[in-house]
């Protein structure tokens, strides 16, 4: 026959704290509330990437309608596109990208997935057109930008017409870099003006980190008629 003897109360620090909290009704209520809050917060943070994708998807639907509207076309012609408004559609067949790009690269604007650097030329114009896109979260349109290679095409469709760029074999605005190339986050040379029609895409690198940027640069190939 075996006998069981009650275990003595834990006297270490955590055990003492746990016992003390267990034996106090108000502390139990507080702990209960805290655990619920922790659970809710944890689930919310775990779901954050999926929630941003859902948000971006719904936002894209609105931007898509805006891009086709006569009002935006007129605003585009008069160069009055506001930050966060639809600017162009970007298509990259090689990695299955087809999203609306908004004007601006603020955190708010970039919730659309991709944004046009203010101060760079409008799409298809002479100069270095620069577009930044999310690599994780918010639809992650540039998630696979590292898989692009020279010769791949990038199409921009604006309210007044479009054009096609072809990815260059080497960097255009920085020296001695094969495509795609990596720069630090403060290397703004990649978006400096060019005399010809150029397109620059930037995104964070490596995935999930914002320490560096991955860059793709392309040269103008041909114009396209407006998409009606």
């Amino acid at each position: 026959m075996t006998t069981t003897t009650p275990q003595p109360p834990r006297r270490d620090g955590i055990g003492f704290l746990v016992n003390a909290l267990r034996n106090r009704p108000r502390a139990r209520i507080a702990l209960s509330i805290l655990s619920v809050l922790l659970l809710l917060g944890g689930v919310a943070l775990l779901a954050f990437p999926f929630a941003t994708n859902l948000y971006q998807d719904r936002l894209q639907q609105r931007l898509d309608r805006q891009l086709a509207s006569p009002a935006l076309r007129q605003a585009y012609k008069e160069r009055r596109i506001q930050t966060g408004d639809s600017l162009t559609r970007i298509k990259i067949p090689a990695i299955g990208v087809d999203v609306v790009v908004v004007e601006g690269t603020t955190a708010s604007a970039l919730r659309a997935g991709a944004g046009h650097y203010p101060g760079t030329p409008l799409p298809c114009e002479v100069g270095n057109v620069a577009i930044a896109g999310h690599r994780t979260t918010y639809g992650k349109p540039f998630a696979n930008i590292d898989q692009l290679k020279p010769g791949d095409t990038i199409e921009l469709d604006t309210p007044i017409g479009g054009c096609v760029y072809k990815i260059a074999p080497h960097a255009i605005t920085v020296v001695d870099a094969a495509m795609p190339f990596i720069v630090t986050s403060n290397n703004i040379d990649v978006v400096k003006p060019t005399p010809d029609r150029t397109l620059t895409l930037t995104s964070c690198h490596p995935k999930g980190s914002a320490s560096h940027r991955i860059v793709i640069q392309a040269t103008w190939e041909k114009d396209l008629p407006p998409v009606t």
């Binding site: 943070l45 007129q74 012609k77 160069r79 596109i81 955190a107 650097y117 203010p118 999930g208």
Partner: protein, 417 residues
Amino acid sequence: MRTLRRIGALGLTAFVASALVAGGSASANTPEVFLGQATGQALHLSALGLDATLGQSLAKVQSSLLAEANGAGDLAVLASKSTAKVTQDGQSANDPNKCATPAIPDAVAAILNAGLACSSSSASISAGAPVAHSDGSVASIDLSANNVLKSATANLQIGQTLDSVLAPVIGAINSATGQNIQLAATDSITDLLNALTTTQTLAVRIGRSTSDVTSSTGKIVSVGTDSGGEIDVLPVGALNNTPLAQIIIGSAKASVTYDRATGKATPAWDPALVTVKLAPFAGLPATTVSVAPGVTQTLFAGTPLESTISVADGRSFTDANGAVHAVADGVSLHLFKGLGVNLADVLGLKAAATPYAVALDLAHAEALGGGAVATVSPTPAVVRDLPRTGGAPWLPVLGGTMAMAAYLTRRYALARK
């Protein structure tokens, strides 16, 4: 409290700095402006008191959302005119196949026969890009002045010999071909005049003139084109069953391409080339003479049939507004110098300004384009860092940690003893 104020001041500074860095929209001081226009004129005819412009077209687009096209078979006949004009995006207008008989004065109606003069016009604006097209044409012009000429030539003093009459022609042929053709002596110009008074005088077949202006993302293209035509002098073959002369006029084209990105307009022109085929007669072989742009060629000099062909070259210029023009100046034919005054007398018409019986101006095409790119105000945006597009990977990790903490809390801290 001091700490709070410091935090507040730092926050405000960061806000102002971020606003400057973020910048605003792609604003502009002036929006883009452009203009494209093309015109074509198939034929201007001055003959026996008739002064008519036939087969005219004009197309125009402007950046202020205007697309307009106007065509005319005969500029003087309303029923042959077409017009199309739109001023709003998504609109289109079409005015096809407006045809009418050209207006011919009663005095010359018996000897001048004109086919239907027609025109078409269309204009549209799609996705902010205006497009305009028009064309104009006249089917034919036939001049049968033989009966009138019979009266007129009765008054002419015909004393020239064939040698003196055709010497300039022979000289031109020998010069052009390197040959040494000699005339078969003493035939008379009377042979020609007999033909002139017994057969149809002129048959004019001209192509249509078209004007097109199209706009796209990158450029505005204005193109005026005239398809040329053929003029047969004494067309029914009074001499060896062939027309005395066939004047074949090639197409003329003028275009201006305006680059919307650079604001530059580039002109181009392709003037008409003229070929004259002379029938074999009086010992002369059948002869073909090309009249190059910038050259004037005289045929049958010194005879009542003296005619000149002037082929203008193309040119371009920039007007006071900065628009670039391209012009293919066309071909001028002045026919039958010795008959104009006499024909006017016979028909009871006021004498024409020139002694020529018939004056034709063909194959004139013109295009213009110009504009200015939008001027963008200096952007306040200063890029100091490339934007973050993939950070915060720790959020899901934090979420997992929090969920685990919640589980542990309920598992151990809240578990019943």
